[in-house]
């Protein structure tokens, strides 16, 4: 307990002294995950609306696949992406391996099924009168989708938070295709794993506290947004 409380005190000191190394890692994690959420939301939300609004052959199979992909192990995504981005891989010539771009691609692929699937669920939870009302008012398919986004925006915000939570908390993709390079591709999760193994428990704990604080702040912001409704 003494070890833990000492480390906790040292971790707080690192946080409140605005330790450059700590905050570089935090910033790297934040911007990677925010870009990944944006990139996943851009197709994920429209696709979610489209799947919810239209019946088509294979819809059930698609939903089952998305459900399965929601639980995709992060290391599997990291492994497949490594195979593509490594020098001998199909996309090796792009030189993306061990860059933040590679982590962003991996996290986007990881959370796309989450946002897509939760967007479908959000649209399915909309009032059943919404679609005929929009159609009766002459809305095009895109306008119908936009009305769904408007009417279920709070559920969609929760979908984005779920995606962000999965992205910022994952370690497999960031480790395998990011390489955990200090000051460049080191994220909060990979840094926590590394620093703990090195015995730098207080540094890892400081990052752990900031990771939790980030999750709390994002959820708090979304709850405030939902309360506005």
């Amino acid at each position: 307990m003494d070890y833990f409380s000492t480390a906790f005190g040292a971790a707080l000191a690192l946080i409140f002294s605005f330790d450059r190394e700590v905050y570089t890692v935090v910033w790297t994690s934040l911007y990677i995950s925010l870009i990944a959420v944006t990139l996943a939301a851009l197709p994920g939300i429209p696709l979610g609306m489209l799947v919810a609004l239209r019946d088509f052959a294979g819809k059930r199979l698609l939903l089952q696949t998305l459900n399965t992909l929601m639980a995709l192990p992060t290391v599997v995504v990291g492994l497949l992406l490594y195979g593509l981005l490594t020098r001998q891989g199909l996309l090796g010539h792009l030189g993306l391996l061990y860059t933040t771009g590679a982590i962003i691609i991996g996290q986007t692929l990881l959370i796309l099924p989450v946002i897509w699937n939760l967007a479908i669920a959000a649209a399915a939870g909309a009032d059943p009168r919404l679609l005929p009302t929009s159609q009766a008012l002459g809305a095009s398919l895109w306008q119908q989708g936009a009305m769904y986004v408007h009417e279920v925006k709070f559920a969609l915000a929760a979908a984005l938070v779920a995606g962000f939570g999965r992205a910022i908390g994952e370690v497999g993709v960031a480790m395998m295709v990011g390489g955990n390079i200090e000051g460049f591709t080191r994220t909060m999760t990979t840094a926590i794993a590394l620093e703990t193994s090195k015995g730098e428990f207080e540094f890892a704990l400081a990052l752990g506290i900031l990771l939790l604080a980030t999750a709390f702040l994002v959820n708090f912001a979304v709850q405030r947004f939902q309360a506005m409704g």
Partner: protein, 230 residues
């Protein structure tokens, strides 16, 4: 009289049951038509078809003498203002709800504002324009939905059970509006009700629906629109 709608040998069914079987049904242009029938008689299904929201599995619907084809339905919806039985108002202000259909059509803001103000004035909704549409009473919701339909200046106004869940004052206002339409003869209005005496007093024509079939109706001032009953 000019037939706005001509329905011939129409059949529509849901997965588990037949909803409508109509041999022939005519809706006259610029007249008020009441569809009378109990719950489950097919009124809402008929209205969805007349509003071009559904497509019949068999038979034809002619609108102004032209058969309604699948791909043309979206365009034809713009001729119809449809007020559903329990209207859904979007989570936005009354003003934005009334102008929504015009916005979908890409009308400029000033046209939308002018139309919304005019329609709201006609229906006594001016004081509600900046209110949140989700904080209205049942009667106010019904009137906003009617205003939203009228803002599109449709050729046809369809109202599914417009008197249900309404207070007496709003019922009276809707009745007055229907009386006005009957006299003006500038729009085709179709509404449904369970109440036969009300249908007779407010409409030019009556369609009597029961178990998805239309039957002749011949009493009072209103005339039957069913040429051949199913």
């Amino acid at each position: 009289m000019t037939h706005l709608y001509q329905i011939c040998n129409l059949s529509f069914s849901y997965q588990d049951s037949n909803a409508l079987e109509l041999d022939e049904l005519l809706i006259e242009q610029n007249q008020v038509t009441a569809v009378v029938g109990p719950n489950g008689s097919g009124k809402s299904t008929l209205f969805d078809l007349l509003a071009f929201l559904r497509q019949p599995q068999a038979g034809t619907i002619l609108f102004r003498g032209t058969p309604v084809a699948g791909s043309g339905r979206a365009q034809l919806r713009r001729q119809v203002g449809y007020v559903q039985q329990k209207p859904y108002l979007m989570k936005m202000s009354v003003r934005d709800n009334i102008g929504l259909g015009l916005k979908f059509r890409g009308e400029p803001r000033r046209v939308i504002d002018a139309t919304v103000n005019a329609v709201a004035g006609e229906l006594g909704l001016t004081a509600l324009l900046d209110r949140d549409a989700n904080k209205l009473s049942g009667g106010e919701i019904q009137k906003v939905a009617l205003a939203r339909a009228l803002a599109l200046q449709p050729e046809v106004v369809i109202m599914d059970e417009p008197f249900t869940y309404l207070d007496e004052a709003t019922v009276h206002e809707i009745e007055q509006w229907l009386h006005g339409q009957r006299q003006a003869r500038t729009k085709t209005v179709i509404f449904s009700t369970h109440d036969r005496p009300r249908a007779q007093s407010l409409s030019d024509n009556i369609v009597n629906l029961s178990n998805g079939r239309a039957y002749p109706f011949s009493s009072g001032n209103a005339q039957s629109n069913v040429s051949q009953s199913g």
